[in-house]
């Protein structure tokens, strides 16, 4: 799979999606992708399509729920929202990520 420049670490993308849903509430795939791009300040050019396998993965785990609904422009779209399991797991996943990031930071810090 790997090699593509705009690929994001799998776990990272999952957490971004969860955080987006936590702050924005129910959102369709396009909205999630745009939001991630905006928040990252365009430092991350995402292949928007990669969001869908990630959403499916989260759905399979039961962390997010999906429902068809109408978008702001009155179009049919699939809306994702956090499930109760997802809400509980966000905390855990965030801590995990912070631990990993801290570890990485220690490796990357100039040794003195």
């Amino acid at each position: 799979m790997g090699g593509d420049k705009s690929d994001v670490l799998q776990g990272t993308l999952d957490l971004m999606v969860l955080k987006t849903l936590e702050s924005m509430g129910p959102l369709h795939g396009y909205g999630i992708a745009r939001r991630i791009e905006q928040v990252s300040g365009n430092s991350l050019t995402l292949n928007q399509g990669t969001i869908y396998p990630a959403l499916l993965r989260l759905e399979q785990r039961g962390w997010v729920k999906a429902e068809w609904g109408l978008s702001e422009a009155n179009r049919r779209a699939k809306f994702y929202s956090l499930s109760s399991i997802g809400q509980r797991r966000i905390q855990e996943e965030t801590e995990n990520w912070e631990r990993t990031a801290a570890t990485m930071a220690r490796f990357l810090a100039p040794s003195n």
């Binding site: 292949n47 928007q48 399509g49 990669t50 869908y52 049919r76």
Partner: protein, 896 residues
């Protein structure tokens, strides 16, 4: 947890694939739409907006593919595609498919059937807790390592609880149970007090028998009895209050104390038992005789025991050896008997008893293993055959496969795809075989049971059989598929593509492997044919043996007279009257009675017979008979006269000797009118000398035999068998005889009818089974081999069409073409036969102990087998050869 959730959702997704695909497409469409709308709002043109949306999205197809991978099992989808493809391939050549599936179904079905028989008879443990703790105990001597117990010996051993947690004696016995219309025979068992404790089998209702029941006269209320669930349902109509009711067995009331569940199997798994009574009831059941009264003289019990947990079989055996002598001293009040036993190295031995004890198992263990190996050889042959055919087919598809390899298909994918085809064949074959197996194994079980009405072999399919079948199916798939697939994909693709079908590369034409496979197949077929030939020749010789009497048209009616009131002369008069009445039934030409029916294996002998001229005591087989015996059985009277009913208990005791008995007892003398003395001291006047007959078995040469008249019988309430020679069919006689017994002896159970031909068949049923099955296997093997030889040659010849066309255009005569094609197979058949012959010559020795009057190297069988194989191989090879000769050179060349 997550993994399980993902797994579940993937499983669900499997069944909703199309719907989910549509949904994904809709979602992706809506994504692009939303993006386009936003881009338009930013002021792009329609065209620009769409291009930008698609660019931002990345690859739609890749996303879809990744999404699907996340959703389900891509490998499964691949397998499904392969199976579909394989299925289409098979459907395109229905002839090949049907042949392949049938061949495999035959092989696998036969193996499954035989295996489930072996499973039921040899492998399955008793369905009791910790069956591995069970042990069978024997009172072994050098000349009889598996001897049973007398009651005295068992009681002395039973007391020793230090070796076994519990031990129990048992014996199967038909019992007379009083029904609404007189006594009926019901199979049952006599069991000692701890029997049910040994088996640890809880009752369905009530309680089981305990040591408190196994006492002289039973408990306070007489004897108790335990019945089977089946008997409770039929006899007592599933009455809820059955415990406590009385059951009259052998004219004596027994109290039903419990019901054993249907799942319960007693210590003799191949012998049905519906009623269990304590061993102390034996004198009642066996009246007017009693094994218990005979004490240590009569050996009639089998012993099963449960080892204490933690005591190994070796430890138990060591402990048994140590107590053998003390127990013997304790049990037997006869110093001479003990001395004799010690001389024969008497000792108790224990053997694994998880499967209980079965006479059928003893008799059929070795024949079944021989048959199982033949069966396995047939399956191997079927697989070899399919491998050859698939290989030939794959060769025909060589160019297609080479092209696909060239286009980038991985070899593994192609092999996988080709294997899918063999998997399909194997699955279909297994299913067909599995469907047929129960019927076959049931009829084989019936064949093994012979004339024993209460024999039962549970051939039901259990986990062990299914594992066996699954293993076989996998092995078959790999065997028939892997070699052809590896070979087909291993060829150099340049060669394949460069050269058209008109030039078969020489390398391919002289390939060794396909020929080795076919030759192996031929060799196996020949081995099976030789085995079948030998067993059939032996069976034919068994049937061809002169028995000394004529079994055709003889019908036996066996009576059980032990529980009625007539005795001695009065009973003899009843037999005579009954014989007269039978004589008047239509179709009856003569009637007589006998104590033992020849060839049933049940005989009676006296080892103390002597005359003034005999060289000490001689062992003579004896039989009790009525007048007209010799006429009815067509045994020639060589000198003297037949018995008469007037030879009764007041007349001088008389005897008839067989020819060889007369020679043995009166060497060089005329036996007629002389006196013979038995071991009891009674002297008998010889009134006739008759021809020898095979009394014990067909295999054993004519026995030294003597006949005594039932009218002078010494036994109480003896049960005889009426022997009828018929002119007409047996069925109306059976009905008439039954109603005659009902009238003349109400209360006596209906006599058991067997024809002498049944008895004869049953006496050699193991030979019959082996011959029938081996002929079946050999016939299948020959047929399959013929199909294989034909099929592979036909494929190969079809590929040589243009070559043959060129040859003929260059002047080859048709006969030469026929010869050329025919030779291909002739070499294979010859090499295979030679190899098979060598193996058969060396291996047939294993059959030696099963053969009667037949050498393991019987030249006729060997020649016949080779001839049969040669003619079948020729026929199979001639057809493609003739077809090749019909090729028109012009057509063949134009086709290129």
């Amino acid at each position: 947890m997550d993994r399980i959730l993902i797994l579940v959702s993937r499983c669900i997704a499997l069944f909703r694939r199309r719907k989910l695909d549509e949904e994904l497409d809709a979602e992706l469409r809506s994504h692009i739409d939303l993006a386009v709308t936003e881009n338009l709002q930013r002021g792009m043109t329609q065209q620009e907006a769409r291009t930008a949306a698609l660019r931002d999205f990345g690859g739609v197809t890749q996303t879809r593919e990744r999404y699907r991978i996340q959703r389900g099992w891509p490998l499964l989808g691949q397998l499904e595609r392969d199976l579909r493809f394989g299925f289409r391939q098979l459907r395109r050549s229905p002839g090949f498919t049907v042949t392949a599936v049938l061949t495999l179904a035959l092989g696998l079905g036969a193996n499954t059937a035989i295996f489930s028989l072996i499973n039921g008879l040899l492998l399955r443990p008793l369905p009791v807790p910790h069956a591995d703790e069970l042990a069978l105990v024997y009172a072994s001597r050098t000349n009889n390592p598996h001897s049973g117990f007398s009651i005295a010996l068992f009681r002395a051993l039973e007391k020793r609880h230090d070796i076994f947690e519990h031990s129990a004696a048992f014996d199967a016995r038909p019992m007379q149970v009083r029904g609404s219309s007189g006594n009926l025979e019901v199979p049952g068992g006599m069991v000692s007090g701890e029997f049910f404790q040994v088996l640890e089998a809880p009752p369905l209702m009530g309680r089981y028998l305990t040591p408190m029941d196994d006492r002289e006269g039973g408990g306070a209320g007489g004897f108790g009895a335990v019945i089977s669930e089946g008997f409770w349902r039929t006899w007592f109509n599933s009455a809820a209050n059955v415990v406590g009711t009385k059951l009259t067995i052998a004219d004596t009331p027994f109290t039903v104390v419990g019901v054993m569940p249907r799942s319960f199997v007693w210590a003799e798994p191949t012998e049905r038992a519906d009623i269990y009574v304590p061993t102390w009831a034996e004198p009642v059941i066996d009246a007017p005789y009693s094994n218990i009264a005979n004490g240590y003289h009569t050996v009639w019990l089998r012993v099963i025991a449960r080892r204490n947990p933690g005591v190994s079989l070796e430890q138990a055996n060591a402990a048994l050896r140590a107590v053998s002598n003390p127990v013997l001293d304790d049990a037997i009040p006869d110093a001479k008997w003990i001395a004799d036993a010690r001389k024969d190295q008497f000792q108790f031995t224990a053997e694994p008893g998880a499967g209980g004890l079965s006479v059928l198992r003893w008799n059929f263990e070795r024949p079944l293993i021989v048959i199982f190996s033949m069966c396995g050889a047939m399956l191997l042959l079927a697989c070899l055959n399919l491998a050859s055919l698939l290989m030939a087919r794959a060769t025909a598809r060589g160019r297609e496969l080479a092209t696909r390899l060239a286009l980038g298909a991985s070899r593994r994918r192609l092999i996988q795809q080709l294997m899918a085809e063999s998997l399909l064949i194997a699955t279909l074959g297994t299913a067909a075989g599995l469907a047929a197996a129960p019927v076959v194994s049931r009829s084989l079980a019936a064949l093994l049971a012979g004339t024993n009405r209460y024999a039962m072999i549970d051939t039901s399919l259990d986990l062990r059989v299914f594992l066996f079948v699954a293993g076989m199916a996998v092995a078959a798939t790999v065997m028939i598929g892997l070699i052809p697939a590896i070979r087909a994909t291993g060829s150099n693709l340049n060669d394949q593509i460069k050269k058209g079908s008109h030039t078969m590369p020489t390398r391919e034409r002289f390939r060794v492997l396909p020929r080795v496979l076919m030759a192996l197949e031929v060799a196996l077929a020949l081995i099976l044919a030789v085995g079948a030939g030998l067993l059939t020749a032996s069976l034919a010789r068994l049937y061809g043996t002169g028995l000394g009497f004529d079994p055709k048209g003889l019908v036996n009616f066996h009576f059980d007279m032990g529980k009625q009131s007539l005795d001695d002369d009065a009973l003899a008069r009843w037999y005579r009257a009954f014989g007269d009445a039978l004589q008047h039934l239509p179709g009856v030409s003569s009637v007589t009675f006998e104590g033992q029916t020849p060839l049933t294996g049940s005989t009676w002998s006296d080892d103390g017979v002597h005359s003034p001229f005999s060289n000490g005591n001689q062992t003579v087989y004896e039989n009790l008979i009525a007048p007209d015996y010799f006429r009815t059985l067509r045994i020639p009277i060589l000198a003297g006269r037949d018995f008469q009913w007037e030879d009764n208990s007041t007349a001088e005791p008389k005897i008839v000797l067989s020819q060889s008995a007369a020679r043995k007892l009166f060497p060089g003398q005329n036996a007629l009118g002389q006196k013979v003395t038995g071991h009891h001291g009674t002297s008998y006047r010889v009134i006739a000398v008759v021809g020898d007959i095979h009394y014990t078995s067909i295999r054993e040469a004519a026995a030294v035999a003597a006949y005594l008249p039932i009218s002078q019988m010494v036994w109480h309430k003896a049960s005889y068998t009426a022997v009828v020679r018929l002119d007409g069919p047996a069925v109306p006689l059976a009905v008439a005889a039954r109603s005659l017994v009902g009238r003349m002896a109400p209360g006596v159970p209906a006599p058991v009818m067997t024809t002498m031909s049944n008895v004869l068949d049953a006496s050699i049923r193991s030979d019959r089974m082996m011959a029938i099955l081996s002929v079946f296997f050999a016939a299948c093997a020959l047929l399959v081999t013929a199909i294989g030889l034909y099929g592979t040659l036909a494929y190969a010849t079809a590929r040589r069409t243009s070559e043959i066309g060129i040859r003929m255009a260059l002047g080859a005569r048709r006969a030469q073409v026929v010869g050329m094609v025919f030779r291909e197979n002739a070499w294979i058949a010859a090499a295979g036969s030679l190899a098979g012959l060598v193996v058969a010559w060396l291996g047939s020795r294993t059959l030696a102990s099963f053969l009667y009057g037949t050498s393991v190297h019987d030249p006729w069988v060997l020649v016949g087998s080779v001839a049969a194989l040669a003619s079948i191989a020729s026929a199979a090879s001639l057809l493609p050869a003739l077809r090749a000769a019909c090729i028109e050179p012009v057509t063949a060349l134009r086709a290129e």
